[in-house]
């Protein structure tokens, strides 16, 4: 996999922060999505064909991706193109605001592109139709094969401008791809764009792999592999494909995650049957023991400032969530509700912890404040777990398994996402069955 966007240059045409009337409030479930018109990007007639990319259709294809991104947020309602009242190139120069308002659009995205000399030049504008003014505009140059990422970056910029929050479209999801019958599953590491495009497999399926997680720069992945039937935490460089086992522990290591600075891996190590939490410094290879308790301590996750660790433990009898300082001191139980709690994951914004809850045979994904207060259950199902945060802390991705029949028939594993408002639950498109999703940070940051 090549490094994307080496040639990315961004410059602002204009940036108008003042008195825009439209904005999207994403702190509540949005039952009234903002009507937005995404005009196809105008393809400059000086464009030439480039390596099998359908240049003539590029303007339409980019705007379709933007539309789908917006629709999937649940916050926007992209309008049908048949109703559009102006040609893309003319609208991009200066829309007839009153005409667009007639089709009930409140915001309009226009743009144009040129493919020439092996480069893709794109510019777009976001218009506030109510206030009849330009809200933001951006132009950039990249290699034509990056055209999907261009669509995602434009989506991010518009989302940011309209919601005041960072976007999450130019991101990827790493997950475990599953196939085969339930009692003989073949599992591989899969990676795809956030919208399900560009699926690639990073392992062959010869050995069981579980729980992949990105490092902060999205170049590395840590995961559990049963290579040679020895379950150990591994490190994989996505670009080079180089793999190595992390640390020489005399037993199973599992449940790995990176520290927020990417310098350490935190994980569980099972010694004589008892699982405790350890960190390993990737540069010095120094191993530190963080918990020392006769109970199961696992699923550790750092706070984004690196000062705290959330984990689950059954030291009180059943699985509950605890928080401690990153040196292992000050352990405090934070869940006291009915049921058992696991897989705590600290939000990238630092304000919430997502978790899995099991109660009366039902599985819930929920969020709570980092002291355990304000618990909100977002979704209930037969089986679901392992939430992972979108980089802006607004959306969770997790996996679900269905109830199987007496021979294992009817079993499936799929990825889902939900807003932390509890709205907009959505199944993600994957080429195969899938589990253990982990969301990357923004690729272009």
């Amino acid at each position: 996999m090549k490094r994307f966007f080496l040639a990315l240059t961004i410059y602002f045409i204009s940036f108008n922060f003042l008195y825009a009337l439209i904005e999207v409030d994403i702190t509540r479930g949005n039952l009234d999505p903002l009507p937005i018109a995404v005009s196809p990007l105008h393809v400059d007639i000086k464009s030439v064909e480039h390596e099998g990319i359908k240049v003539k259709e590029l303007g339409n294809n980019i705007s379709s991706i933007i539309e789908r991104n917006f629709k999937n947020t649940g916050l926007f309602n992209p309008l049908k193109k048949e109703a559009f009242v102006q040609k893309p190139d003319i609208a991009h120069l200066k829309p007839r605001f009153e005409d667009w308002r007639l089709i009930k659009a409140q915001a309009l995205v226009t743009g144009k592109l040129l493919v020439r000399d092996g480069k893709l030049k794109v510019e777009f504008r976001l218009w506030d139709l109510t206030a009849a003014k330009e809200m933001t505009a951006l132009a950039f140059t990249t290699t034509p094969s990056n055209w999907r990422r261009v669509a995602h970056i434009i989506s991010d910029k518009i989302y940011e401008r309209l919601t005041g929050e960072e976007g999450y479209f130019d991101t990827r999801i790493i997950y475990v791809s599953e196939s085969g019958p339930k009692d003989q599953r073949v599992k591989k590491l899969g990676i795809m764009d956030q919208d399900g495009a560009n699926t690639k497999y990073l392992t062959l399926g010869n050995e069981l792999v579980l729980t992949p997680r990105f490092n902060p720069t999205n170049q590395m992945v840590t995961y559990l592999s049963y290579f040679r039937n020895m379950p150990r935490v591994y490190l994989l460089d996505i670009e080079t494909g180089m793999q190595e086992v992390v640390g020489n522990f005399p037993g199973m290591t599992f449940a790995p995650r990176f520290s927020p600075d990417g310098k350490k891996i935190i994980m569980s190590f099972a010694e004589d049957g008892n699982s405790d939490i350890y960190t390993m410094d990737l540069e010095t290879r120094v191993v530190e023991r963080i918990t020392n308790h006769s109970s199961i301590d696992t699923s550790p996750s750092f706070s984004p400032d690196g000062k705290y660790i959330a984990f689950n433990s059954d030291r009180s009898g059943l699985q509950q969530i605890y928080v401690m300082r990153s040196d292992g001191s000050g352990v405090k139980r934070i869940t006291f509700g009915k049921g058992i709690y696991g897989t705590p994951v600290w939000s990238p914004r630092g304000d919430l912890i997502a978790f899995t809850k099991v109660r009366k045979g039902r599985f819930y994904i929920g969020v709570m404040r980092t002291d355990g207060s304000g618990e909100r259950l977002l979704t209930e199902n037969f089986y679901q777990e392992a939430p992972s945060w979108s980089p802006n802390g607004r959306v969770l991705v997790f996996y679900r398994e269905t109830k199987a029949g007496s021979k294992g028939e009817g079993f499936s594993a799929t990825l889902w996402s939900i807003d932390i408002t509890g709205y907009n639950e959505r199944k993600l498109t994957t080429k195969t069955d899938a589990s253990d999703p982990s969301w990357s940070s923004l690729l272009s940051k």
Partner: protein, 158 residues
């Protein structure tokens, strides 16, 4: 009238007896003690009369009386076959989070290993591995399947 009342009483008695006996049969024939599986389905044998696996209660890794009896048979067998090494595989049902289940499987495998060691089998002859919920022996999503999947299995290595 008298006849009718008597008849009613008889019916009541018969009906109650039926309910009671139904309860009794359900408890005995379910191959379960609490939620620990006690049946023979899925069980294999290291040798004649030496079952290869023991079963656990939900979220537990403690050995039941029946499990200890099975493991004593395994210990006797291993004492007789001094060159034999084994791996104990620990498993969990699908009703927990993946990572916790990996830890739970490890604990179950080690509970069986520790018991074999107290009966004189060297720890060097026994390795353990946890598969968590990854390798169900019964792929169904039912109480019975889950009880069969909460297990540790002793497997010959050589």
């Amino acid at each position: 009238m008298t006849f009718n009342t008597n008849l009613k009483n008889i019916f009541l008695v018969v009906f109650t007896t039926l309910i009671l006996s139904a309860c009794a049969t359900a408890k005995k024939s379910g191959d379960m003690d609490g939620d620990v599986y006690t049946g023979k389905e899925t069980v294999k044998y290291l040798a004649s009369g030496v079952p290869d696996r023991v079963f656990f209660a939900t979220n537990k890794s403690s050995l039941t009386t029946a499990s200890r009896a099975t493991l004593r048979k395994q210990a006797t067998y291993l004492r007789k076959n001094k060159k034999l090494n084994v791996t104990i595989e620990g498993h969990a049902d699908e009703r927990g989070t993946r990572e916790y289940n990996l830890a739970l499987g490890e604990r179950r495998a080690n509970a069986a290993k520790d018991y074999l060691m107290t009966y004189g089998i060297s720890g060097k002859r026994i390795s353990t591995i946890s598969y968590g919920k990854e390798k169900p022996v019964n792929p169904a999503s039912s109480t019975l399947a889950w009880s069969q999947n909460r297990r540790s299995v002793t497997v010959k290595v050589n």
